[in-house]
Symmetry: C2
Subunit: 172 residues, 2 copies
Amino acid sequence: MTDKQVKILKSALKLFAQQGFDSTSTSRLALEAGVSEGLIFRHYKNKQGLLEAIIAEGMNAATKLIDGVLAVDDPKEFIKTAISLPFHIDESEHDFWRLMYTLKWQQGIYQNDAFEKLKERLVKAFKDLGYDNPQEEADLIEVLTDGVATGILLKDGDFSSMLTVILKKYNI
Amino acid sequence: MTDKQVKILKSALKLFAQQGFDSTSTSRLALEAGVSEGLIFRHYKNKQGLLEAIIAEGMNAATKLIDGVLAVDDPKEFIKTAISLPFHIDESEHDFWRLMYTLKWQQGIYQNDAFEKLKERLVKAFKDLGYDNPQEEADLIEVLTDGVATGILLKDGDFSSMLTVILKKYNI
DNA sequence: GTCTATACCAGGATAGAC
DNA sequence: GTCTATCCTGGTATAGAC
């Protein structure tokens, strides 16, 4: 990947996240990246292709993170780690996740395999701990983390004390 | 409001929700509504003005709903009613809420007064019930309902059993 | 690999007739 | 109130030179 290619990807992520995919023109993008407009189309088939490259790159990183969680064996510790996930999104990744959440509403799905696995393991963990409704408990964690991530990404407040309150509800 | 005006609003809500605001052209909209393109601009200043009319109408309805919740006095009953809110979104309102959630990520905020009041009352209810961290508990309900609404609007599954599980955590 | 120039199309919005 | 016709702007994408 050449220097300019990196600049295109970086600028595109920033602009797509901040102004939306549709509302970001390739000319504006070229300006931001300090690159000619034509170059964008030399490296990527079209605007959509550029978007897909960004998503693939980010999802790659996310998968690695989730693999770390999946490595935790103890059920209680596993649930704790899973719940904590959205609370520790690094500031540098906010743009990427903002983009992903926007796309979730616009385009189709973007739930990858790693997230599916995480969910299954949650069900198992709750089952191991003797919960009455392991499936529903896992579903709950899913929507909860979704809400938490939304809050963090949109409001930029301090959510650490909320994590404590949540964990207490699971006696962790 | 004339017959065609209603048709414009209805079609716009549908298309904006399904394809997004930006990706819906006014010509496509006119086609869907069975109306000439020019007529849209006679009734609304511009595309954005049309969007605002839709939001105003929907928010009006939402406020009435929330006012019903605010009328509940008993703290426990109040919390129950508030939590249940997203679980009872009528199918006919899905398009509206899908649009609102999309816009939340694209444009600025759309949290109206009614929602603010609901939040304050939640804090009070938890305080009345002697919870340790009423503010965090209310914050939690907020992100939780947000996540639930997202799930319901995006996945169209059955979430009723999740409601039971949640309420049990609050001994309701 | 990169730039400049340009073709081509679609979108929002307006004017004028009825 | 409504339609038809049209203008103008700005967007994506390509061609060709360096």
